[in-house]
Amino acid sequence: MSPEGIAARLPGRRGPGGASAAPGSTGFWSDARVERILGAVACLVLAVIVGMIVFVFSKAWPSFAANGLAWFGSGGDVDLQLEDIFNSPANPADYVYHLRAWPLLWGTFVVTAGAVLVGIVFSLFAAIFIVEFAPPRLNRVLEPVVRLLAAVPSVVYGLIGILVIVPWVGEHLIGLERRESVANVVQLDGSSVVVGILILTVMIVPIMIAIVVDALRAVPRSWTEGAAALGVNRWRVTWTIAVRTARPAIVAAAVLATARALGEAIMLSMVAGSASFAPNPIDGITFLFEPTRPLASALVENVEGLSVTPFGETLFAFAAVLLVSSMFLSLAGFVAKQPMRRYGVRP
């Protein structure tokens, strides 16, 4: 670089010709101004996000206000109630808001809890395998595999589910007897809780594996080596030292995966959501084959009616429930990771 060029880049100095000041020198881009501009952009985004939260809640309020706490209770068929709300009279005074959202909430809970429980066990073992036992050659395959599973769009999962797994379950796993046992309550056609849980597990497992693997790798080597030096076998070292240290990260993984599972809409509406039905655990195994429709899927299925005022407000009430849950969960995930920091282990 020529001396003139260097001079042009020094602050407080102008290059030959005066006007060609390099960006970053004391011209327009002075330090104070840059800080203010960057801060203003950050505040703008903050305002949009806060505005979104406030907006969703203000839109949702009429539905909660009209139903009170019974909103979360059970009673009647949600699909019919939604239909009534959609067809309510045009006069604002006569708007229908009656809704008992329990089947949707229960469906969300069953599918999410099922997927997270199966997923946490599976991903714990997979993470142990990746960190501790996998031969290097296999590990080179496993990393892209996990990343791929995380990246497959949910609509592709849904497509495979609805075209391959749902028909297969409907034909081979649901016998005539099982179909008749609940025929007067709900129709079993293969789109079911169990398929939803299965595919949702595959979708959330990569996040959990990533978090648990990071935590297991962060466990200080001297701790595990100390145990190994005492003659403990490799599995027990991993299980009693590494996994126990990483426990907060496992909790965090479960929590963050729950947030992801709650928001999954498209895939579940394709493979599980043929009706807003609350699967009944009393039915035994049949319970797994009953359809259900989680909150997020109910939003996707009904979103065309958003412009009908009371119906739109009801949908925003669903959205508000999802938003509160996911905010709470990301907070909980943050808190759950703290104990590991206290040990000086950064997950």
């Binding site: 880049r9 020094l10 602050p11 390099a22 970053g24 020198s25 881009w29 330090d31 840059v34 960057l38 952009v41 950050a42 985004v45 903050l46 996000i49 939260i53 969703v56 839109k59 599976f122 073992f125 997979a126 142990i128 395998f129 990746i130 036992f133 996998a134 296999l138 395959v141 791929l148 599973l149 990246a151 497959v152 769009p153 609509v155 592709v156 849904g158 497509l159 495979i160 609805i162 075209l163 076998n233 490799r234 599995w235 027990r236 299980w239 963050l256 928001g263 809409a265 498209i266 394709m270 939003l299 979103v303 949908l315 959205a319 999802l322 938003l323 996911s326 905010m327 990301s330 943050f334």
Partner: protein
């Protein structure tokens, strides 16, 4: 075919030869076989989980590739979709591919600068601390918000009369709140946390003495950010952006809600590029959704092929991410 070599036979013998008691006595103590039962169960469960992971991913890719090859028809890529019940005349998915591309470009153009700006402000300035904490947690909240909630917010937001010039105009002056602009701005909120996260990580991994060296040469903080820190953080920014693009390409809910249910790209009234931005259309994800039994499209073979194209795109993006991530590990940023 040559007969099995002596070497192979010998190695088989070595592996499966009858083991006498004297060999057991000299076996290393820490072989899996000598572990207690539950330790062995755990060990094999870990192997099973790892192999199952590979099997699942392999099954998905192989199955989609098989279906994609089965319904392979290059013409579909260059043909606009048409609304027809007869699958022979319902066209291909040129418009969804263009829509995906347009949406990717637009939302990246919004999300990447915003995300980098926020990350730089958070790591390099971050004053006042309370405001920085608020921005940080707001980004966290968006990362956890279901995309369908973002989509609903976007729809109602863009339905306001004074924003009508940004969205597709319906007959009679009603504002439907649907357009590429609306979809891209909400999509950018999905990509934003990924860009912010990756950029912050990259900036944090730059050692403090690099900044100090720059100040010692007389550079201002602004110049240091622009000339030293941002170039060093480029792989991180690239990783975050590519991850964000993956999320944008794969999201369906926002497209279904905010881009409208039209399969063809429909320009807004005022023509030109802005008319295109105001127009509605579809993407590969919404095309797959509408052609699957869930969207009543009942054209599984087209849905399969479109899903295959989408999956191939996502895999390519993934490869780019791992290449960028590997490059990010080099140099003095470690």
């Amino acid at each position: 075919m040559t007969p099995p070599s002596v070497g192979l036979i010998r190695s088989l013998y070595v592996r499966f030869r009858p083991v006498g008691p004297e060999v057991v006595a000299t076996a290393p103590r820490d072989s899996v076989g000598s572990w207690p039962l539950w330790d062995r169960v755990g060990y094999y469960a870990a192997w099973a989980a790892g192999l199952a992971l590979i099997a699942i991913a392999g099954a998905i890719v192989v199955y989609m590739a098989y279906r994609g090859a089965q319904y392979f028809d290059l013409g579909l890529l260059f043909e606009s979709p048409a609304s027809s019940l007869n699958q022979a005349t319902s066209g291909g998915f040129k418009d969804p591919i263009l829509g995906t591309g347009l949406l990717l470009v637009m939302s990246t153009l919004i999300a990447a600068p915003l995300g980098v700006t926020i990350a730089v402000w958070l790591t390099e300035y971050g004053r006042p601390a309370g405001l920085a904490r608020a921005v940080e947690s707001a980004v966290e909240v968006v990362a956890g918000t279901p995309s369908i909630v973002l989509a609903m917010f976007g729809l109602v937001f863009f339905q306001q009369q004074w924003l009508g010039f940004l969205t597709f105009d319906a007959e009679g002056g009603a504002v439907l709140g649907r357009s590429f602009i609306a979809a891209a701005s909400m999509m950018s909120l999905i990509a934003l946390p990924l860009v912010v996260g990756a950029t912050r990580e990259a900036l944090n991994s730059i050692p403090g003495h690099v900044r100090e060296a720059s100040y010692a040469l007389g550079k201002t903080k602004a110049a240091t950010i622009r000339r030293v820190l941002l170039p060093a953080a480029r792989p991180g920014i690239g990783t975050g952006t590519a991850l964000g693009m993956g999320r944008v390409a794969g999201d369906t809910a926002i497209v279904v809600v905010l881009l409208g249910a039209t399969l063809q790209i429909q320009n807004g009234a005022d023509g030109g590029v802005f008319g295109l931005f105001r127009g509605t259309g579809s993407t590969l994800t919404s095309y797959v959704y509408y052609n699957s039994p869930a969207g009543e499209g009942l054209a599984p073979e087209k849905a399969y092929f479109a899903a295959f194209v989408l999956l191939a795109f996502v895999i390519v993006l993934n490869l780019a991410v791992s290449r960028l991530a590997r490059r990010g590990g080099e140099g003095w940023t470690r």
